[in-house]
């Protein structure tokens, strides 16, 4: 954010700090402890890791002995590296962060994005999912505007693609078409691969209220893992169905997360009047394996810059 006067700057900063304290208080009340990610990461390690984002977007720093470091582009992976060097999987671990990520932007600008979020490691699966979703929806509700939680399951789609032995570029292309909700593109690709008439033909219609989408999905033949994914979603539905937030949840089985390490539920929070998601998260058990220990893991992050500007706007309006 840029300010024209110092008064404005101090007012906004104070307001933002109050929101941070509120969320910190909430996280701590739910049993989460603060963890501080490292700011510098080794460039070599980053480019060699499996789950890097576009490495040209990372902000590089040269140390005194000419080693290259990057400013953390992501918090989850950063925090996991820290945790798994000291934690052996027991008992369950609940941490939260309040931190900034850095990214190169066109025109030589560096984007600083302030994020808060949680990582919940070692919890039983339906319970961890439900707890994280519950917290995410409470935070969305606290903004005071109509909101929607978009919920999906990367497992559902992935299990199908696994069964059809779709790998490499074909799999990536199909997922990209589904991610873009590109119905015609998907249809012609399916024809090309001779799997038209399959469940993928209808995947883009599998979105709406949890109950109706689960019913719809059950009508299609599926393998064991797809069934398991639906079973987990059903448990989540059963928990939320009488809660107020249920009306704000939209299940979308065609949701494709933009980070490939998610392997279970994924979710995003949208707020009416804002053009991008302000909250996002999901389950990433698979990722923990790379740190030498496979545990259940779920987390989400909140875009603090966006939340602050929305709540500032609400305040000045009313």
């Amino acid at each position: 954010m840029r300010f024209t006067t110092i008064d404005e700057e101090l007012t906004v900063t104070k307001f933002k700090k109050a929101i941070e304290r509120e969320i910190e208080g909430y996280f701590e009340g739910m049993g989460f402890n603060l963890i501080e990610p490292r700011i510098f990461q080794k460039y070599d390690e980053y480019v060699n890791s499996e789950h890097k984002q576009d490495s040209t977007k990372t902000v590089k720093v040269l140390s005194g002995n000419s080693r290259i470091f990057i400013l953390r582009p992501d918090i989850t992976i950063n925090v996991l590296a820290e945790i798994f060097s000291k934690w052996d999987g027991e008992p369950p671990l609940k941490v939260y962060y309040n931190s900034t990520v850095y990214q190169n932007r066109p025109g030589g600008k560096i984007l600083e994005n302030h994020q808060m979020g949680i990582e919940y490691l070692g919890a039983e699966i339906p319970r961890g999912d439900i707890e994280a979703l519950d917290m995410a929806s409470n935070i969305m509700a606290s903004i005071g505007r109509p909101y929607i939680i978009e919920l999906g399951s990367s497992k559902y789609l992935d299990s199908y693609l696994d069964e059809m032995k779709l790998v490499g570029p074909e799999r990536a292309e199909l997922k990209d078409l589904i991610a873009k909700k590109n119905r015609h593109g998907l249809r012609s690709k399916l024809r090309e691969l001779k799997i038209d008439g399959s469940i993928l033909e209808n995947i883009l219609d599998m979105q709406g209220h949890m109950e109706e989408v689960i019913e719809m999905a059950k009508k299609y033949e599926m393998n064991k893992d797809m069934g398991l994914a639906l079973e987990k979603l059903t448990k989540i539905k059963d928990y939320f169905v009488d809660k107020e937030v249920y009306e704000n949840i939209r299940l979308d089985l065609s949701m494709v997360p933009n980070l490939d390490y998610y392997d279970g539920i994924v979710f995003k929070g949208y707020c009416l009047g804002n053009s991008t998601r302000i909250l996002s998260g999901g389950r990433y058990d698979k990722l923990t394996e790379e740190f030498g220990l496979k545990v259940s893991a779920i987390g989400f992050m909140i875009d603090m810059d966006q939340i602050t500007s929305i709540r500032m706007g609400e305040k000045s309006n009313g």
Partner: protein, 207 residues
Amino acid sequence: MDRITIAIAKGRLGDEGLSLFNNSDMEIVRDKDSRKLVFSDAGGGTKYIFVKPSDVVTYVEKGVADLGIVGKDIMLEEDKDVYEILDLNYGKCRFAIAGFRNSYNKKKDGVLRIASKYPNYVQSIFENRNQRIEIIKLNGSVELAPLIDLSDVIVDIVETGNTLRDNGLEVLEELDYISARLIANKASYRFKYQIIKKIEKILDVSR
């Protein structure tokens, strides 16, 4: 009904897109010569804004428009974070590499000079080819570039190929298929899902 805003590319592509709404309750009456940039339908539920084709994607990504009608060429060039929900099946053409016959092959060892209105797209096409390139960004009359030796080849959209032929050029390689698309902002897609579904039905003439 929710209010919805649709960004339409100014020009032929947009006009044709707008005509797809005829005979629906979202139809608008517009004087073709009008300079007005904002129109609403009779019920006031739909607002159309008319913008430069290359800006349609930006309006939609930023959420000032919920939906947009734009050519796939712009989508490939701009790489913005929006849903591409429908192929509107008109404005069909192709991206192609064009030039004089043999102008492509003989450059294999040197730097191939490519004139185009779509520099990002050209970059992406040549990324994994073993060919060094220089991109010359032009804003129009791209076909002129090889004629005056500004470039070896061009990358542009080709509909009938008439302009190329009239200038002694030919298609050397066909690239992506292009047509008009309906795109949507990701947040709007969630909040206005029902009405967007309805618009999809109106526009999906292929069914």
